[in-house]
Structures are given as C-alpha cells and as structure tokens.
Amino acid sequence: MKTNLSEKRITTGKLTELALLTAAALILYVVELQLPNPIPIPGVKLGLANIVTVYAVYRYRPAEVLMVVLVRIFLGSLYGGSMMTFLYSLAGSLLCLLGMLLLRKVTDDRTIWLASVLGAVLHNLGQMTVAVLIAGKGVLFYLPFLMTAGCIAGAFTGFTAQLVRNRLAGKS
C-alpha cells in the first residue's frame, strides 16, 4: 500500500492490476445491462461497476483511478450503449470521481460507504445536468428519485467495496 502511493512510475505489476480492475468493472457493467431494471426511471440503477471505482479510489493514485474509469466508460459505451450513455456516464463519473477523491481524505476503511453514498449522489447530479441540457427542465422531476436511489445504491456499492478492500488487505 505504502509503496503504491509513493511510486511515481507505473510498474508492470501495477499496470496489470489496473487492467484487471478495468476488466472487472466492464464485466460488472455488462452484467448489469443484462439484468432487468425493476424501476423504470431513467438513470436509476445499482451501478455495480462503481464498486471497482470506489475500491480503486482508496488504493491507487488519482491519475490511475481516472484511467480505469475513463477506459471503462469508453469501452462500456461501445459494448452496450450509445453516444448518449457515454455522455451521461462521463459527466456523472467525473463529478463522482472528483468528489470521492476529496472525500478520501476525510474517510477511513470503516467509512468508505459514506463517501460512496455522496459519490453516487454526485454521479446522479452530473447525469442530471446532461439530461436537463438534452431533455429540458422537465426531467428535474426525477432529481429526488435519483438522489434517494443514489443513496441506496451508493451505500450498497460502498459497503461492497469496503468488504472487498478489507478481505484483500487481510489476505495480502
């Protein structure tokens, strides 16, 4: 952990780790696409791929996390979406990432999920901004729904990431 944070160059080992993470995120993303969405509200979903993002935020440097996220969004849009999904994801993820990176400084291993909740809400705010630009102010109706759903989804992904992190830390 300490070596990871202090090293400037990306070693082959680290690159492999990041690639693996990206792949995992992509798989989660595609799997979620296949699941039927029980709530027919545009923008509401669990965001399984964010488990990886949250995990990465607490383990790697900002630039590295950004790489994972950008590649995942780009490839994810190629697999299962359109130009539109790309824009939404991009706006949401970047805002979320920014918030999470700031929140990392005030959270620890036991409060990752709190940062994740706020990150998810930020993600939704980013999406909402794009949606308002595209579909007009009417979609603001969904903002409270997205925020509530974001809290639940964020808590879920956060706890999962926390679990993953603690398990991996325990083993290594």
Binding site: G81, L103, T107, L114, I134, A135, G138, P144, T148, C151
Partner: protein, 132 residues
C-alpha cells in the same frame, strides 16, 4: 497526543458526512413525495431537445396516435381516453414504453431526446396565461 487530535478530527468529519448523507436521503424522499402529490394541469407538453413540439390539452384531446421522429428513430405516441403514453419506440432501452400512461412523472426517452410532461408554470415552456 497528536494521534488523539487526528482521530478526534476524523470522528468529527465522519459525523458531518453521515449527517450529510442523511440529509440528502431525506431530502430526496421529501422531494419525491412533494413531486408526486403536487397537483398539475391537464395541459401536456411533448418536448424534443427541450423544445416544445406539441401542447396537448388532455381534457379535450381526441383519441389518436402519432409519431415523433428523432434522427430517424421514432416514438409512437398514443392519446386515448384523455391519457397519453408512448405506445412504441425504437429506442434501445424502452423505458418510455414501460412507463405506460403519463402520471405525475414525465415520460422520458433520453435516447430520442423526447419528454412528455405536464405543463408547469415554472418550466421553460409553460404558459402563464392564454389570451381569449
């Protein structure tokens, strides 16, 4: 000693974060309830790219079906018994079709940049009054 201060700070920021999360969550629920219970007019707007294509007065509208096109993709909109819905669409997610008849929540088809919503005095397109 220094460690004590740091843990103390950490505890405080955790507390603030938790309160914040709770506020957002409760605010979201409150907003949902408020949005759902708010009364609305019977004037419905069909928007594409935020611009009004049609305004429909559901109380007086006759039953009909018509098509709205966006970059070659279509949404088939149906008005029946003073209700409105997207009957069929060739967008990938079909969320707009699953939303069925318009209730308080706007029907949105993001891939086709379409939204169907009740007119609202506060929306960019809402009318403040109608001259007679």
């Amino acid at each position: 000693m220094a460690k004590d201060i740091r843990t103390e700070q950490k505890r405080k920021s955790t507390y603030i974060l938790a309160v914040l999360c709770a506020l957002v969550f409760l605010g979201g629920i409150g907003g949902m309830l408020w949005n759902l219970t708010r009364s609305h007019e019977r004037q419905v707007e069909i928007l594409q790219d935020g611009k009004i294509l049609y305004t429909v007065d559901l109380d007086r509208a006759e039953d009909r079906t018509f098509t709205v096109t966006y970059e070659g993709r279509t949404n088939e909109i149906e008005i029946r018994n003073h209700q409105i819905r997207v009957k069929a669409a060739d967008c990938p997610d079909q969320i707009c079709v699953h939303m069925d008849w318009l209730e308080s929540a706007p029907i949105v088809c993001l891939p086709n940049h379409l939204s169907i919503q009740y007119a609202d005095g506060e929306s960019a397109s809402g009318l403040d009054a109608v001259a007679n």
